[in-house]
């Protein structure tokens, strides 16, 4: 347990052994070493998400750095009782990357990417974190594959493409109500599939 006030680096603290929530307490006190540990744990997932959204490494690097700086600068906003640190971070990364996508109006270049989940490079040597992430990827994708294609499509276009329901309805030539219904039903089914897989 950290005994010294947060915000004063303590060489005796083994940051790697602290839980995310404990690290965030230190981050909220302005401790950059705790923040670095948070980045080491979640930077890869954040970069992967940004890459999936923007489609290029350089844009993903910009989006990830922008999001983590926002996390550092708004660190006092983190509330432990509102969910996991990981979900909080990835939510910020998603929102800011989608904002950047919309600002830069690069939707046109991403429409091809929105056709389906892309497979790209694979690391030759997998760390424990990478093994966990690949296991998670398989589990989530397996659940997604149980959804009807039409539901998967609107969810991906919204979440990874940053499109509004109106834009998706226009792209797919479907009524807005149909698109909204597919989003709702698809998310509910995905939640139940994952809950069943974890049971």
């Amino acid at each position: 347990m950290i005994r010294k006030p947060f915000g004063t680096e303590d060489e005796g603290v083994n940051y790697a052994r602290l839980a995310d929530e404990e690290l965030m307490q230190a981050v909220q006190g302005g401790d950059p070493m705790a923040f670095e540990t948070i980045y080491d744990r979640h930077g890869g997932a954040a970069f992967s998400l940004a890459y999936r959204i923007v489609g290029t490494r350089s844009a993903a690097e910009d989006a990830t750095q922008d999001a983590f700086l926002a996390i550092w600068r708004s660190r006092v906003r983190y509330q432990r009782d509102r969910g996991s640190v990981r979900n909080w971070i990835l939510g910020i990364v998603h929102n800011r990357t989608i904002d950047a996508l919309r600002r830069n109006q690069v939707h046109a270049t991403r429409r091809a990417g929105a056709e389906g989940i892309e497979e790209r490079e694979a690391a030759s040597e997998l760390t424990d974190v990478e093994v966990f992430r690949r296991d998670e990827q398989r589990r989530v994708r397996a659940a997604i594959e149980t959804l009807p294609d039409a539901q998967v499509r609107v969810i991906e276009l919204a979440y990874f493409g940053g499109f509004t329901h109106n834009q998706i309805a226009e792209m797919l030539d479907e009524p807005v109500g149909t698109v909204k219904g597919r989003m709702r039903l698809g998310l509910d089914k995905l939640r139940r599939e994952l809950a069943g897989a974890m049971a």
Partner: protein, 231 residues
């Protein structure tokens, strides 16, 4: 159709961030009064939160971390220096039972003014350092994060504070036009860390202060403040 039947179809789109701004605002107003939609949103958010896990893992380049930490370390260094300076400059306070006496003590704080630790250029907020009574809060530190417009939502963050005592809690007060009003109560954990949200707008507020009060709070402060942030 009722407002609920109009809005319930929007839950999935809202969870995915696919509602245009105006529709999202209307939906958020509906959420405030609809437990059913709040519950469905909570359920659907569980699914949205796993979507990042479906993407192909990619490793960020080492240069990204180096660049990020360069900025973070640069921003953290002056904050730490400001805090140490503020702590050294603080007057030593004596406990006082009457608030009138507290006001006299507070006058001693005034000359030092607020020390701005950081300003979030992107997110629109500033962080102010607190002045600590080192006799009663030895080793403690605190800061106040204030929205750029001084609106509601400020957060007081403390660390290294001692236990306020059996049956007691820390109480936050705001000073506005010479009047004191209660803002929040908070506890600290074993490491002395805690946080309190200040619900009031800080517009026209001159200071945010903390005293130690009976658990449940007091109608007015019963001791001189143990920490103070000049806004």
């Amino acid at each position: 159709m009722s407002a609920h039947s109009d809005q319930v179809e929007n839950v999935g789109a809202y969870a995915l961030g696919a509602l245009p701004d105006l529709e999202a605002q209307v939906f958020e107003r509906h959420l405030m009064s609809c437990e059913e939609c709040r519950e469905e949103l909570r359920r659907l958010n569980e699914a949205v939160e796993v979507l990042p896990g479906s993407v192909t893992p990619h490793e960020p380049p080492p240069s990204l971390k180096a660049s990020l930490m360069g900025v973070v370390n640069a921003e953290a260094a002056p904050a730490r220096s400001s805090r140490r300076l503020a702590l050294r400059q603080l007057p030593r306070l004596r406990p006082a039972l009457a608030w009138a006496a507290a006001a006299c003590v507070l006058a001693a704080f005034a000359g030092y003014g607020a020390s701005e630790l950081a300003r979030d250029e992107g997110g629109g907020e500033r962080t102010l350092s607190a002045q600590i009574d080192e006799q009663r809060l030895a080793g403690g530190s605190a800061s106040l994060s204030v929205p750029e417009d001084d609106g509601p939502g400020s957060v007081l963050l403390v660390s290294g504070l001692p236990d306020p005592g059996r049956g007691r809690a820390y109480q936050v007060w705001v000073e506005r036009d010479g009047l004191i009003e209660s803002a929040a109560l908070f506890d600290v954990d074993a490491g002395g860390n805690g946080a309190a949200a200040v619900p009031q707008s800080l517009d026209d507020v001159s200071a945010v202060m903390v005293t130690r009060e009976p658990r449940g709070g007091s109608g007015q402060p019963t001791e001189a403040p143990v920490l103070r942030v000049d806004v």
